[in-house]
Amino acid sequence: MSERRVVITGIGVLAPGGVGVKNFWDLLAEGRTATRGITFFDPAPFRSRIAAEIDFCPEAHGLGPQEVRRMDRAAQLAVAATREALADSGLDIGALDPHRVGVTVGSAVGATTGLDAEYRVVSDGGRLAEVDHRYAVPHLYDYLVPSSFAAEVAWAAGAEGPSAVVSTGCTSGIDSVGHAVELIREGSADVMVAGSSDAPISPITVACFDAIKATTPRNDDPEHASRPFDGTRNGFVLGEGAAIFVLEELSSARRRGAVIYAEIAGYASRCNAFHMTGLRPDGAEMAEAIRVALDEARLHPTAVDYVNAHGSGTKQNDRHETAAFKRSLGEHARRVPVSSIKSMVGHSLGAIGSIEIAASALAIRHDVVPPTANLHTPDPECDLDYVPLTAREHRTDTVLTVGSGFGGFQSAMVLAEPERRAA
């Protein structure tokens, strides 16, 4: 049996400033930022009071009142993205064997926002140690165990194949899609509805990143607060969002005349086995993930036309990652455009990896590389071409996208234009 190749045939995105694929791409192509002062709650007590929030109306995405009530915001975003992706793919899932359609949803922090809110209720605003079950909402178990996200997506898609949540922290968005690709390749499924979602903008999340000074305190200038690779950066901006893909096997996608955005040609993840939040400056483990992903794609580093960086905007990350690119791509690292869309849509933890896969697929589709916004002041230790401020027209057949997260996880994925790649 020849190797099964896996392609993206449908995309759904809900990102800050970009609800829907078209709005999302317009935001990136225009280099606009969607970071702002937090409006979801009063952020006054916190160190970092900025986030990239989505103006999301679940009803506008067809979610009924019961669904809105039972789902955490992250599940709602995932279902809305699923609907867009399925419609975009043109795939008639009802005509398939539902056991051959699976689901993977990535999420770093699950229903944190729902849990935070419900804890306040059952603890009488934090006063009770023995929390009161009589005030608990009926769907609290779905918040406890975030596999409920995969269940909601499976119901929305009519999937009855292998389904799960993949939760590897901030690489969840890449690892979830990578997991789905492997299920199709090995023959466990023919179609996967896969992606990720997180909606972490809640007091407990803001407080926990405050405690380690990971988020930026640039509260007086929220629109320009996310500054990956810039010499003045001082932390990331928390975001939220979801991206879901329809993934299928290449030959069946071609048979049905589907629009193919990109092939997922290679994927790998590695651990730094160093520290839960710290990174060694040499980037060796991310470099190894990149090397293995390119190897799986049977591509030489020089084939990479664009690198979609993790680019969170912490000094530690930006230097770690720059070192990883040099280590894995060699001299080519200095020639290839590298950018971070977190400068525009913030860092939505487990969701951002999938949102960045969407950006990578759209870069291939449009032959345009999105910029790194807010990059004015070079950092001598970050000396690559980070595509400052303005998007760039650039022939893009192959994209490398990477992620790095707490727990030491480092992931890399290679997307490629399948027709030009075959040629």
Binding site: L144, S147, G161, S163, A164, C208, R270, C271, E285, G407
Partner: protein
């Protein structure tokens, strides 16, 4: 194709810390279910749990790890140490990129999270721990095990409620087939804290009985829910060829896996469990009559017990295969349940003993041969482990006894 063999077991069960203690309690049918002692549960409708007694993390782990870890992470780290030790693997003697970690989780470090939520809302954000950013999240066990043991290979974290423990093992086999020879796998959960208790109560699946012998009765006409517990198992899984090369046959091979998701509620379609079991058998290239024992999911609720019994009867024929649920001695352990069942199944294969399901008087309407009363001695070669997760997740794994090398 490359085979994945389990060569090490690390057990942290309410019925025993360590394989030996766990296995003797399991074979003798000693239950660990009792009144909740970890917090005052008197005011809640459910008051029984399967708690791990006598675990002193400081006896096993560096002091620097204690403030930054939830109880379930401490248990998982110790279980990983024991699994490595049991397999005879010293991680410092292996290439870092050749070792990975895949764990399942259901609710992360929920007790840690509870304490930080309490500080946030009763004292303020500046009281939230610097460790909160990772100590509670679902990936924490994979991350901490990888750091403690210097494992830099591919890793993963699966959340599919109780089915996740098997999904993690399946992903482990996938990574071994792709070329990583050593993977630490499994799951350990513990959410025995007021906040976790309230969230579990919301599932409407907990038994409200106060009788430790009558609260969790799967496949019994008197079943009214389950008792939650804490713990699980970490398994060391290896490429069978490299295990053989160092003269280790291991406990058993992960021979087959299947998974499915139930149809949308109200669809009228058949639940997915039978499909998952048949996929696992097909994957293992076994016919139903070649399976010697089934470790059941054993939900303990009539409707769910019926779905499982019907699926087993459909695949194997009514009463045609011995079925057991040793988790009646521990309660249901979230993502830890299925890895612990796998450990039990591998030990059953090794010893030729099917451990009993305790407390249960099987309802004949279920048409299964449930092993109750005493353990059943019988030669065993293959076992099927079934696990289901809240919401509709179904997973099944077939293990085959390892042949001595």
């Amino acid at each position: 194709m490359t085979e994945a063999v389990v060569t090490g077991l690390g057990v942290v069960s309410p019925t025993g810390l360590g394989t030996r203690e766990f296995w003797s309690a399991t074979v003798e049918g000693r239950s660990a279910i009792g009144p909740v002692t970890r917090f005052d549960a008197d005011g809640y409708p459910a008051r029984l749990a399967g708690e791990i007694a006598g675990f002193v993390a400081e006896d096993h782990l560096p002091g620097r790890l204690i403030p930054q870890t939830d109880r379930m992470t401490r248990l998982a780290l110790v279980a990983a140490d024991w699994a490595l030790d049991d397999a005879g693997i010293d991680p410092s003697q292996h290439a870092a990129f050749d070792m990975g970690v895949v764990t399942a989780s259901t609710s992360g470090g929920f007790e840690f999270g509870q304490n930080e939520l309490r500080k946030l809302w009763s004292q303020g954000g500046q009281y939230v721990s610097a460790y909160q950013s990772f100590a509670w999240f679902y990936a924490v066990n994979s991350g901490q095990i990888s750091i403690r043991n210097g494992m830099k290979g591919p890793s993963g974290v699966i959340v599919s409620d109780q089915a996740g423990g098997l999904d993690a093992l399946a992903h482990t086999r996938r990574l071994i087939r792709k070329g990583t020879p050593v993977i630490v796998s499994g799951g350990v959960d513990a959410a025995l804290c007021p906040w976790g208790w309230v969230a579990q109560l919301a599932s409407d699946r907990l038994s409200t009985s106060d009788d430790p012998g009558g609260a969790y009765l799967p496949f019994d006409a008197a079943a009214t829910g389950h008792v939650p517990g804490e713990g699980g198992a970490i398994l060391l899984v290896e490429d069978a060829a490299s295990a053989r090369a160092r003269g280790v046959a291991g406990y058993g091979v992960i021979a087959g896996y299947g998974a499915s998701f139930d149809p949308r509620p109200g669809s009228g379609r058949e639940p997915g469990l039978r499909h998952a079991i048949e996929s696992a058998l097909h994957d293992a290239r076994l016919t139903a009559d070649q399976v010697d024992v089934v470790f059941a999911d054993a939900a303990g609720l009539p409707e769910l017990d019926r779905v499982e019994a019907d699926a087993l009867a459909a695949v194997f024929g009514p009463g045609a295969v011995p079925v057991t649920a040793p988790k009646t001695t521990t309660g249901r352990l979230g993502s830890g349940a299925a890895p612990l069942d796998l450990a039990g199944a591998l030990l059953a294969l090794r010893h030729g003993v099917i451990p009993p399901t305790v407390h249960v008087r099987p309802d004949p309407a279920y048409r299964i041969d449930l092993v109750t009363g005493a353990a059943r001695e019988i030669p065993l070669r293959t076992a099927l482990v079934v696990a289901r997760g809240y919401g509709g997740f179904n997973s099944a794994v077939v293990v085959r006894k390892a042949e001595p090398s």
